[in-house]
């Protein structure tokens, strides 16, 4: 991302973004909760398709709106978006309507034919998820065989001549030591490496304590990112690390409800992809006025665009650089939204986490997991009664997570 003609430090522009834009710069659109994997840290607790998911025509109506709002591109995800039988129909519809598509996939549907199809379009980009540079580290969180699947997909994309697709990695305690290896894999396949932050969102809350990077790993990550500059994408997700000193490339602000948002498979609009909870639900694209009205007029988004206070962070010399970190990370670890990030590099978050006592952090309002999520480690026995999570009607999906969905030949 480039800022042209900034007469003053980028702060002025950031202030404009804090006030929100008439349309998002980009948005994440999760097309289905169905997934053939069951990653332990899935931010949307995906697994089973939701029978209320948007129909093909409803999706096309959303794309029409995005075109009118001049949203340049959408980041399509899931679940595994390619299991929707109308996936390619929707991709083609979007690109025919000046809405570019970047979709995230585990690679399971990227065979040689699909790779050639993607490579042939200037308006479609793809992001392969891989959370370990070795099968051992990756499959531990993404499931047996998922490393081989992702590597095979990358091989097909390379063979099809698609340079510059994205290799997307969620940074964890287990893979921070593999950053150079990830870069080597990306280079080998002609991909661009994208590193993002693990959030305690969805099933990620269950494993966050075991997976989130340790303080010294955060420092190593920070220096690695500084050394690689704009060669490595981050989705601007590490702005909490700016408190180490220098700002990292990117916007360095929380864009939730201001320049980004999430449309989930049933059309609910949330402030960001990591905040699937009623507290961050702004509306639904099926309501009168559609997505446009939700984006421009919802109480939640207007509130997010109003001046925010730093709360406990106000007195910190680094507040202007880290801006208190990630709203979702605070929320799902039970910390106040106007205080430090749980991974505050100055350690203020750790102190607050330690002081939580028996407070139970909020749980996602919806859970589409296929079964009880796999735990990495046995959890401590707890006498705390967890809040009841709304169960999702799953009649259409009882037998198979992919019920009603079939592969469309490309």
């Amino acid at each position: 991302m480039t800022v042209i003609d900034a007469p003053k430090p980028v702060g002025t522009l950031v202030d404009r973004f804090q006030e929100g834009l008439d349309a998002p710069i980009c948005l994440t659109w999760e097309l289905t909760y169905a997934c053939n994997l069951a990653c332990v840290h899935c931010l949307s607790s995906s697994g089973r398709r939701d029978p209320r998911e948007l129909s093909t025509d409803e999706c096309k109506a959303v794309i029409d709106e995005l075109q009118r709002m001049q949203v340049f591109y959408v980041n399509i995800g899931g679940g595994e978006p390619t299991v929707r039988k109308d996936f390619w129909e929707l991709v083609d519809y979007a690109t025919a309507h000046q809405v570019g598509v970047k979709f995230s996939t585990n690679g399971s549907r990227i065979d040689a034919d699909v790779a050639r199809r993607i490579a042939a379009s200037d308006y479609v980009d793809v992001q392969i998820s891989l959370d370990g540079a070795t099968a051992e580290v990756n499959d531990h969180v993404r499931g047996a065989g998922s490393f081989a699947t992702a590597i095979a997909a990358m091989g097909h994309l390379k063979d099809a001549g698609f340079a510059g697709f994205k290799l997307s990695v969620v940074c964890t305690r287990q893979n921070i030591g593999q950053l150079d290896d990830f870069k080597a894999i990306a280079d080998e396949y002609g991909a661009q490496l994208r590193l993002t932050r693990l959030r305690p969102s969805g099933r990620g809350a269950d494993v966050w304590d075991e997976l989130h990077p340790l303080p010294e790993q955060q420092r190593a990550l920070y220096h690695w990112l500084l050394a690689h500059g704009e060669d490595v994408l981050t989705g601007d997700s590490f702005f909490h690390l700016a408190a180490f000193g220098e700002s990292l490339p990117g916007l360095n602000l929380c864009g939730a409800g201001r320049v980004v948002c999430l449309i989930d498979p049933v059309g609910d609009v949330y402030a960001c992809p990591f905040a699937i909870h009623d507290s961050f639900l702004a509306g639904n694209v099926r309501s009168p006025g559609g997505f446009t009205t939700v984006w421009r007029e919802s109480d939640l988004f207007l509130e997010l665009r109003s001046p925010q206070t730093g709360g406990a962070c106000n007195s910190c010399a680094h507040f202007d650089s880290c801006r208190g970190g990630c709203m979702a990370a605070k929320f799902f670890t039970g910390l106040p939204l106007d205080g430090p990030d749980p991974e505050c590099v100055l350690g203020h978050g750790e102190q607050l986490l330690a002081a939580r006592g028996d407070t139970v952090p909020p749980k996602p309002s919806l859970d589409h997991s296929k079964k009880k999520p796999r735990r990495l480690l046995e959890r401590r026995p707890s006498t705390i009664t967890l809040p009841v999570v709304q169960s999702v009607p799953d009649r259409a999906c009882d037998e198979s997570p992919l019920a009603g969905l079939e592969r469309t030949p490309v």
């Binding site: 003053k8 591109y73 490339p249």
Partner: protein
Amino acid sequence: MPVTAPPAPATPAPSAGAPVAGEPPFDLDGAWSLHPQVALRPESFGALAYHFGTRRLSFLKSPALHALVDSLADHATAREACAAAGVPAAQLPSYQRALATLVASDMIVPREPA
């Protein structure tokens, strides 16, 4: 959203405010146009520019720069386009630097003389 006039453009700055170095000067007397794969979206601060080929996003941080970039193809030279967009002579160098930055990211491209 209120539309206000932002401060006059000065030094073009890529993200994070890093200084620009090593870019060739922009030829104000050449014919230029927006790259055919670039879309502009007006914003109160200026405009967003998105290049579908390189998948890069740029922020044009003044409405005047937006108007200028949008009208490059309508004028024989960039200098003419600047005059038509009302760029004061004193600010021409800073606009020239901004245009050079846009050339470097392939947002605007030379146009064959008609």
